[in-house]
Subunit: 258 residues, 2 copies
């Protein structure tokens, strides 16, 4: 049997430590190609580049590992699209994205370029996983995360998921021996409360930095936020059919559709 073709991407950019950790963890499972943004693309959500052309360049970032790599001027979603059409010339057998620096648990899944790259692959029918570590530092320790990436990828390749699903995996900032295991979770019902930081430029005009705090009112013990706060790796199966099915019957019963 031929080895699986594995596409690795991320949103922090091709030279971030997290993508290197991910490449090292998935290398034993197949033939890896990296196609990742040439600059940080955090918070890009499912953005695609429509009004500008894209650049794509072969680079040598993973030369020491013998892994071909390409950087793209676009978003994480663009990277997945162009990798399939112009580099692999086929769908990969697995697409992994990350390891993102910072949490993509709960509502962060919506804003995350890491998760949107994985979702783009899943829309195309490709088994896909986004990985994140709850540690923003450049020196973040990915060793425990790598152990769990291996367990999760093995399950994904051997058993797979239900149709039209992908995975959102988050790792707590803990050494391996303190991680209690993996938990399959639902997305916590939390949100960001924004406070823009208003400043004045040398010309006397205002500008604003987006800041905010994460607010979680969801007390459930089956959520990703709970799992992470209690020392577990959180795994949320994610869908891209956004239909609120209860909403359909509610509207048919209660709305005036004349």
């Amino acid at each position: 049997m031929s080895r699986p073709v594995i596409l690795v991407t991320n949103d922090d950019g091709i030279i971030s430590p997290g993508i290197r950790a991910l490449v090292e963890a998935v290398m034993p499972f197949g033939d890896v190609t990296v196609v990742a943004p040439d600059s940080p693309q955090s918070g890009m959500g499912h953005a695609i580049t429509i009004h500008d052309p894209l650049r794509l360049q072969k680079v040598d970032v993973f030369h020491d590992l013998g892994i071909p790599s390409y950087q793209c001027s676009g978003t994480p979603v663009d990277c997945v699209k162009i990798a399939i059409d112009k580099i692999l010339h086929r769908k990969p057998d697995l697409c992994v994205s990350g390891i993102n620096h910072g949490s993509n648990a709960s509502i962060n899944v919506i804003y995350s370029g890491t998760m949107s790259a994985a979702m783009e692959a899943a829309i195309d029918g490709i088994p896909a996983i986004g990985f994140s570590l709850l540690d923003f530092s450049f020196d973040a320790d990915f060793s425990a995360a790598k152990v769990y990436v291996e367990k999760i990828v093995r399950n994904m390749l051997n058993t797979g998921l239900t149709k039209d699903a992908l995975l959102n995996v988050n790792f707590p900032k803990l050494p391996l021996e303190e991680i209690k295991g993996m938990k399959i979770c639902r997305q916590a019902n939390a949100k960001w409360e924004e406070e823009f930081d208003e400043r004045r430029d040398p010309n006397g005009k205002n500008y604003y930095w987006l800041t905010g705090k994460f607010v979680n009112h969801d007390q459930g013990e089956d959520t990703d936020v709970w799992a992470l706060e209690n020392g577990y790796v959180s795994i949320v199966p994610v869908q891209f059919d956004l239909t609120h099915h209860h909403g359909i019957s509610f509207m048919n019963q209660n709305w005036d559709l004349k």
Copy 2:
């Protein structure tokens, strides 16, 4: 009772004809404020601006209608966030986004800045609707769409939706008398197949334009694509809890979680 506060935004930019049609249609229902991107932001999905500061400027685009308006340098999602924090200083009673030029039916909901603006409001607990007309031309006729915007907004303010839902509304490119009515739908299971258009710049380097064709294998007559192809206004209730709940039980039963 005080009049509802209504926030209007879009992704095509503050001077697009679609947002003017939307403002005119919702004006009778409350006190309208427009906060919209200063440039086209199509395909931005749920992107937010993290690495750059935002500019926000009072403008006079809807002076003739007596409606205050502001343009923002950020994405549609940024516009909603900054409108609540820095302009309205409260949550609006309704947020409407659009009217987008082009379809946001089916999987387009994922890429759409129009829909992401509405989703951002819904995450914040605000009743929210994204509107799109299947006509890209600058001279698109919004008159039929405006009639249906009024019907839908009236239902939204009087009856509302199930919790944690928003609406994705698409209008067919038809005159009012040929529209058969409104249909509550599910998101069609379709996708884009990409083909990048490869070109060479004057320096001999390649660049790529994202192109693609929309492929719908979903034969259901309960989908938004079916409704639009058959002369109906499609209304899909949309959720932002992306958990694939069947996936949780599947993984607990079939995965090796040790």
